[in-house]
Amino acid sequence: MKILVLMKQVANKDAILRINKDATWIEEGDLSHEVNESDGYALEEALRLKEKGGSGEVVVVSMGPQRVKAVIKDALARGADRAIHILRDNLSQLTPFVAASTIAEAVRAENADLILTGLQSDDHGFAQTGVILAELMNLPHATIVIEVDASGENLRVKRELESGWYQWYSMPKPALLTIQSGISQIRYATLKGIMAAKKKEIREVAAATDDAGQASQRITKIYFPQKSKQTQFLGDGDAKKGAAQLAEKLRTEARII
């Protein structure tokens, strides 16, 4: 089975975000990046499906500037067989329809049996790229998937629904699934894997550059959310002092102790 995995590079979760000069995105210059959380689980699931099937290929697809090579190399070190890097400089105003269209063009000829994506990106949080890609490639899809059974003729997948409900779906292959984090435990890259990755193919593809006209949405401004609650901040930057004050507040004000 040939499995494509879409992996996006996003700002590190612990990074301190600063707003850029024209307030349309964050300052990216000195930002540290990491792989989008659910995409890491999508890769793990792809590797496991290949192992269970006994044969096949896992191809990582990432779109972005040169820095996304870090995500690609890490995926190759964990066991992906090769990669497609769709070169694209600025992702900040990239809409999911344009993103999915660009990815569709780059991967169509692969004729994969399965495409896995994360369920949403941690930066834009559109939750759409995978589903739109499925539509553009005329594939059936399922979202928020937490278990995959690819052993039969048809795929059988378990979807998470709201408030503790689940549902199994069957569909023919090829198909596209958006993966929820926690589907399985993610493996680490081994030293052997890191060495092997150096020999693996990373194919660069140029993305169509002028697609601004197609965008169906545009960010005009970003800003820190307005606080809705009056928070009493304790300790004044001194965590230990804050802790002592908190214990006192829990007794005198909140009356919990």
Binding site: I132, W168, S181, L246
Partner: protein, 327 residues
């Protein structure tokens, strides 16, 4: 010419969910601002009763799209039916609740119009006829104002809780229900009945005090610290999703949209950023305490008490102080 607002009414097991009425409130509010009428859409098979229920709300019309393939939700069936309705009604704006079901089919629907969704919006405001949508980005750390391109229709989804369902206005008389026999093509997905996992081993809804940890705890070995604080306070340990995903705590200790929803007297969030999917599970707690080294972490938005600092400094001191006060 494209005109008016279409609002998608979602139902499951014969009932509309609360977010549907929130979406209606959002559509009505926007309709009043841009002076456009609201039409509601219900999809189903032999479910005209449900359409009549929506007709009691202040809408110009209810379109009830009927096809036996819509008896159960599938993305293929819903995308086909909604596409037919949107093409027939030719609205300026399509409003939907940002539920798991909408996330599953609406991007597909929008793609048929060569578009995407302005998804998971918190607010929408019209100035000079131009609607500005606000949505949260970076897992709740920032807001973005977004405007749509020129072509209709614009597809927008609203986050659960962004509008209040009670604000959905009832009409003075029942609106007209137009039944539309929609065509639905081949449906490739076969759903099995929805189910719930076996009863949770731990029922956190009964706990008065919950000490919740997030990724800030760094490693499983540090959970002992949290347990000793929980013991001192007589509370239960809970966690954000990544902690349970990593297997550091069992899933029945997860709080949030895909975990448990709790409302204890005291909720202490340690190293949790405060993504919306976590907040929906705990925002009704009596007293909320947040400890986070990032002063901009969204968890502080809903905290009564906050400590900006390292949880590894806070927890031991807090545990000792609590023990002392409890004697």
């Amino acid at each position: 010419m494209s005109d008016g607002i279409l609002v998608f009414a979602e139902h499951r097991a014969g009932a509309f969910n609360k977010t549907t009425f929130e979406a209606i409130a959002a559509a009505q509010g926007l309709g009043a601002e841009i002076k456009k009428g609201v039409t509601a859409v219900v999809l189903g098979a032999g479910m005209s009763d449900l359409a009549n229920e929506i007709a009691a709300y202040k809408v110009e019309k209810v379109i009830y799209a009927d096809n036996e393939k819509l008896a159960e939700y599938t993305p293929d069936g819903y995308a086909d039916a909604m596409e037919r309705v949107v093409r027939a009604a030719d609205p300026q704006l399509v409003v939907m609740p940002h539920t798991y079901l909408v996330r599953d089919f609406a991007p597909k629907l929008a793609a048929r119009f060569k578009k995407d969704l302005i998804s998971d919006c918190l607010r929408a405001q019209a100035t000079n006829g131009q609607v500005v949508f606000s949505r949260r980005i970076f897992l709740g750390k920032m807001d973005a104002d977004v405007v749509a391109g020129d072509d209709a229709p614009v597809f927008a989804t609203f986050q659960s809780g962004a509008y209040r369902s009670e604000q959905a206005e009832k009409g003075s008389a029942a609106a007209e229900v137009e039944t539309m026999a929609v065509e639905v093509g081949a449906v490739r997905m076969q759903p099995e009945p929805a189910f719930q996992e076996v009863k949770q081993a731990v029922d956190l809804t009964k706990a008065d005090v919950i000490i919740a940890v997030g990724r800030g705890i760094k490693g499983q070995e540090n959970l002992a610290l949290v347990e000793s604080l929980a013991q001192a306070l007589g509370g239960e340990v809970a966690a954000s999703r990544p902690i349970c995903d990593a297997g550091w705590l069992p899933i029945d200790r997860q709080i949030g949209s895909s975990g448990q929803t709790v409302a204890p007297k005291l909720y202490i969030a340690l190293g949790i950023s405060g993504a919306i999917q976590h907040l929906v599970g705990m925002k009704n707690a009596g007293t909320i305490v947040a400890v986070n080294k990032d002063a901009e972490a969204p968890i502080f938005d809903i905290a009564d008490y906050g400590i900006v600092g390292d949880l590894f400094e806070v927890i031991p001191v807090l545990t000792e102080e609590v023990k002392k006060l409890k004697g």
